[in-house]
């Protein structure tokens, strides 16, 4: 691990964290607004989070 690698890995984690955090936050808000749709919202949230996570891991392997 060299310094650019570590910085790159850090940036990736920050980016992925922000993305997944935003998805989670927005899903919470959506569930609070419409508790009856919580099942659908959760599913959509997990899929979106998984997609971001996938990109994050792909970039981490490259770093």
């Amino acid at each position: 691990m060299t310094i650019p690698n570590i910085v790159g890995a850090g940036l990736i984690v920050i980016g992925a964290g922000l993305g997944i955090g935003r998805i989670g936050g927005q899903a919470m808000e959506a569930i609070a607004r419409q508790p009856e749709a919580s099942g659908k919202i959760q599913t959509a949230m997990l899929i979106a989070a998984a997609l971001i996570e996938g990109i994050g891991f792909a970039a981490l392997f490259a770093a």
Binding site: M1, T2, I3, N5, I6, G39, T43, L46, I47, A50, L51, E53, G54, F57, A58, L60, F61
Partner: protein, 364 residues
């Protein structure tokens, strides 16, 4: 929960017993070793006072194709310390791979092996990078390795478990024993994963695959958290095979509408259609590829972090280190239990989503 604690203790115990020359490299090597598949099933190992390595476990069959089938027990390889002789050929292990060698077990390297490249890491420490590959002949390896054993075991377990449940339903519509646990899970896969994504009319064809992949990934992920030290889903070949099956099913069940959306996207201007076609075609490969990477990377990352935290105990070497490492490892083990189920769910979910795309009817 118990599995998490046990695995923490077990992994810890292993590291004490390896006897450290350089603690950091020792821990790194140990983690690397844990992530790899192996030709024998070893629960733990230790170094005797005489400096010999003792392994507690049992050997597995090695099956090679090297101008004919060669079958022998991995006990002959002595964990890379011995040379196995089979029909006048000699084989040895080098970095977990089998090479053909001579009676002394010599491993030949390319010319550049002598000049080790030095590289500085981020903390200014000098690293020796030795990436020379042996030039010995590498026979085709079809061995029953640790991963293969556990794939077979989980396959058998699932076969008997679900057969028992299925037979029970023939006699009585109320589930009994194992069925009480499995029924809600099967219904979950059907009602929450298959029907919403594939559709009311076509989901039945895909249920067998979705259920199989869900339970297989989940059970094998959970086994990875036990002290047995199995890591099947952090072998990229295994996740590749799973993703390949999803890809094949998607491709072969694709209807006219699916292919039209790939090669001639309706509702966009003609120049865009030409640009979109290669992107969409590439997308069909990227989807299973991301399935493969996601499962592999999640489980690998979980194991690496867990073992690094346990490794902290040996770096701190004071009264803070052990409780800290124990609490963190315990919390992380609980998280990994969630991840094990979540990854199985995500894999099944996305597979169902892709099947749904492939069989979707034209709405226009």
């Amino acid at each position: 929960m118990a599995a998490g604690i046990l695995s923490a203790q077990d992994h810890g115990a292993q590291e004490v017993e390896t006897g450290a020359h350089d603690l950091k490299t020792e821990i790194k090597e140990y983690i690397d070793h844990h992530l790899l598949d192996s030709h024998d099933f070893t629960l733990y190992s230790y170094t005797t006072d005489a400096g010999e390595h003792e392994y507690i476990g049992f050997p597995l069959p090695v099956i090679l194709w090297d101008n004919g089938l060669k079958v022998f027990s991995s006990a002959k390889l002595k964990h890379g310390e011995g040379v196995a002789e089979v029909d006048g050929n000699y084989y040895t292990l080098y970095h977990n791979k089998i090479y053909r060698t001579d009676a002394e077990g010599t491993i030949n390297f390319g010319a550049h092996h002598e000049e080790e490249t030095h590289e500085e890491d981020a903390f200014g420490e000098n690293l020796v990078v030795d990436d020379a590959h042996p030039t010995n002949v590498k026979p085709l390896d079809f061995s029953i390795t640790k991963n293969v054993v556990f794939i077979m075991l989980v396959g058998l377990l699932m076969f008997f478990m679900f057969r028992g449940v299925a037979n029970n339903y023939k006699k009585n519509s109320l589930p009994k024993g194992m069925g009480r646990v499995l029924e809600p899970l099967v219904l979950f896969v059907r009602d929450e994963i298959a029907i919403p994504n594939i559709g009311e009319h076509k989901y039945k064809r895909y249920m067998s695959y979705l259920l199989t992949v869900f339970f297989f990934v989940w059970i094998i992920n959970l086994l990875g958290l036990t002290p047995l030290g199995v890591n099947v889903t952090n072998n990229i070949a295994v996740t590749f095979a799973l993703a390949l099956i999803t890809y094949l099913i998607t491709t072969f069940s694709g209807n006219k509408n699916y292919w039209k959306h790939i090669f001639w996207m309706p509702g966009v201007p003609a120049p865009m259609k030409i640009i979109l076609a290669p992107i969409e075609l590439l997308g069909t490969f990227i989807k299973p590829f991301s399935l493969m990477i996601r499962l592999y990377a999640n489980i690998t990352a979980g194991h690496v972090v867990l073992m690094s935290i346990i490794g902290l105990m040996f770096i701190f070497k004071n009264w803070i280190g052990s409780p800290l490492s124990f609490v963190l490892a315990f919390a992380l083990s609980l998280l990994e239990l969630l991840v094990a189920a979540l990854q199985a769910y995500i894999f099944t979910m996305l597979s169902a989503l892709y099947f749904g795309m492939a069989v979707e009817e034209d709405h226009h």
